[in-house]
Point group: C2
């Protein structure tokens, strides 16, 4: 019998810790990202867990070090940490460099990379980028995009945890779809056919009866056959649901505060990534402008050539117009749209008694795109059963879900944010595949 | 146009904040959990987001309040917060109660609960408990179990984030299974057949080439046909993978530290739940005993009636015996077992050159059950291709995965922890369905 001790000590130095070691000797590991050979030796850029570090190989022994050094080797370097002022924003920390004293190669690649990772931006068609994802994601710009997504996810969870929400994990294999049956992927479940969850909607609402406030960050699956830059068929949904609301505006207020929190977290902890990606950060909003769908139509109708009045929804062009208007006229890059018509929202949406034919629902738009859908849900059993029937659904098919209403629910509502979409909008990236680690679409199931 | 302000102010008072309000008037919302009617009025227990609160309805106006009050109504109560010393451990905070001044019913259930939620422990067969999950989970004991799972999940993420890991989200719809093809659920993906991911293994390893250290907390899917108390077919897997290790023991050291962190977080922030569930908390270990599989066989063989020598794995009975031995002889409820034979571990497992026929793999056992599987992985392309062929696999089927090895990977390893299993072991709950919000098994697809 041996004993395994607790081993936090094996954590690598963070970029911040490394920056504080100027004048000292440090040992660090990393992957060789770039080698720039010069007459006196070479600059070697190491890719580490949280940034790139510039190493200098020069003087005695440098020939021996450089002779067999190649990109994508895993190495351990010991050297003096020296102050520096590096302009390349992909280098982090940028205020130190390592004067290499020794370098050990720990492992070497089998093949040379077909991609030049040292370019400022990857020079790859999107299909090649995605085909080579295990490699292309090693590029600093691609890495930084996923790190920003991480920041949003952390912000979401931390904020909700601080505000009395409980995290839940709900099943992804289900008997029916939350939105009523369309666009779902069938699964062969032993001898039966099941489906992949399009959203945790039903379970979140059950969760309100249990914990009053719940959230989940997990995958959702949509069998939509669209091959567009803003659709993927599997994505990460940030979902919450809260009880004891007055109406949908309580959910919206919480979302504004959540956005503030998340944007502040990004500014505080992800500034190297935001600076590398040259992100224009929106001011964390103290308040967000809000219009009804009818008001949105009036505004965009007056702006463009098209009359949107009477349209039951926003189309992509109208989302762009409205966001442009909100930024210019109201000084905010976010804008809420409320009161979508009853027939355009799912059967669990609360209707607005003060505006018949419309619902207590909302979308949040940001920089031209819908990033959130939410609203108040029906909590009254009889009302829900009546609406199911009106929507042509059989309440018996939803008996498990309806347990929540049957045995008592507070008034409640919630929302869902598409993580990859939100990240793409923040970064100004046109295709959400770039903010998805391994995207799935109609044509793509690999890597 | 209206403006939606940031709205953190609508967060409900936490139990801790409420406990600090003795002598003041407070307004709080909740679901009526129990009503104990007495000659002078009634005790009314409210279920809130983070605990139960005792309210007293007495004196003038109490008849009017109590006349129509029923369990599972959603109510808003205003009253004086008074000091109290409540013995029932399901009440939290237990040091105050509310002398009700006014009570408003916000919503009422449609049907009376078929379950008596006021009992100390739910008096339900497990099948009924699971059939009625939206209701049965409202019981304080059931809620507390899921809250402890939340604590483990938070501990896992927080610890890894602090130690330089990046969170990733990997696809659950894949072309092939990580473990080589068995026990996977087929999905009809447009015109093709895909599969649900059994583990994020391949993607974690690709992630090491990208971020060096990665983790994921998400669902995994196993089409195992076993109907046992320790199997479900969808569960939450806590996964991490780290680069630049010497061997599997670096992964084990990090896990010991992770366990310490998580157990300390639970003690600090989930004490009401742990106390309600009467959990015997293990001492956060400074070190964990570790034996090879051969040593484990020798120990358990000497304890029982059976000779385990030569067995390629641990069976459930042997896991129990070894844990009993570790607790008694080594004073630790955790025990590592290493060096499982090559043929019993997946094709990506690093073999141990010092102990031919065995691998640099480990299981962590806790209170009689395996809660973690991990090990060092193969990072060398040629070695991985050779082992695939030896295992009867065609490397061409894994060309996407092998990109990671081809273009360079550091030595690395990682592990996976089953969240529901770990929670069940901590709580002493025999069936992991009780620590799963909505379990899925061979027979169960609902609720």
């Amino acid at each position: 019998m041996t004993r395994v001790p607790a081993g936090e000590s094996i954590a690598p130095l963070s970029s911040g810790e490394l920056a504080g070691k100027a004048g000292q000797t440090a040992t660090l590991s990393g992957m060789v990202m770039r080698i720039r050979r010069l007459s006196w030796g070479a600059f070697v850029i190491l890719r580490r867990h949280d940034g790139l570090v510039q190493c200098i190989v020069s003087g005695e022994g440098s020939d021996a070090i450089l002779e067999n050094l190649t990109e994508e080797q895993a190495v351990v370097v010991t050297g003096l940490v020296k102050e520096a002022a590096i302009k390349d924003p992909s280098i982090n920390p940028g205020n130190i460099e390592i004067q290499v004293e020794s370098l050990t190669v720990v492992s070497s690649p089998h093949s040379r990379s077909p991609v030049d990772l040292s370019k400022k931006v990857l020079d790859l068609h999107i299909d090649n980028n995605l085909d080579l994802r295990p490699l292309s994601l090693r590029h600093p710009v691609e890495r930084a995009r996923l790190r920003v997504a991480e920041g949003f996810c952390r912000g979401f969870r931390d904020f909700l945890h601080q505000n009395g929400f409980t995290e839940i994990h709900t099943p992804k294999i289900c008997l029916a779809g939350a939105e009523g049956g369309a666009n779902i992927f069938p699964v062969k479940y032993f001898e039966r056919t099941a489906f992949l969850a399009q959203s945790p909607q039903f379970y979140k609402q059950m969760g309100v009866g249990i914990f009053e406030r719940v959230f989940e960050t997990g995958p959702v699956f949509r069998a939509e056959p669209h091959q567009t830059s803003r659709h993927v068929n599997e994505y990460t949904s940030l979902d919450f649901e809260m009880g004891f609301i007055t109406d949908h505006t309580d959910v919206m207020k919480l979302e504004v505060e959540l956005l503030r929190h998340s944007l502040e977290l990004l500014r505080a902890e992800y500034s190297p990534e935001l600076s590398l990606l040259a992100v224009e950060m929106p001011e964390p909003p103290a308040e967000v402008p809000c219009v009804t769908l009818a008001e949105a139509h009036a505004i965009t109708g007056a702006m463009g050539e098209r009359d949107y009045s009477g349209e039951p929804d926003l189309d992509p062009e109208e989302e762009r117009l409205l966001c442009r208007y909100a930024a210019q006229e109201w000084g905010c890059e976010f804008v809420f749209v409320t009161h979508f018509p009853t027939e355009k929202r799912p059967f669990y949406t609360m209707e607005d008694p003060d505006a018949p034919g419309t619902t207590r629902s909302f979308d949040l738009l940001f920089r031209g795109l819908e990033i959130t859908t939410g609203g108040q849900r029906i909590h009254v059993y009889d009302m829900q059963v009546e609406k199911m029937i009106r929507f042509g659904l059989n309440p018996d098919d939803f008996s498990d879900y309806l347990q929540a209403h049957q045995y008592g629910l507070p008034p409640h509502g919630g929302l869902a944010i598409g993580l990859e979409r939100l990240t793409a909008r923040l970064l100004g990236v046109e295709n959400i595949r770039y903010t998805t680690m391994f995207p799935r679409d109609v044509k793509r199931l690999t890597p």
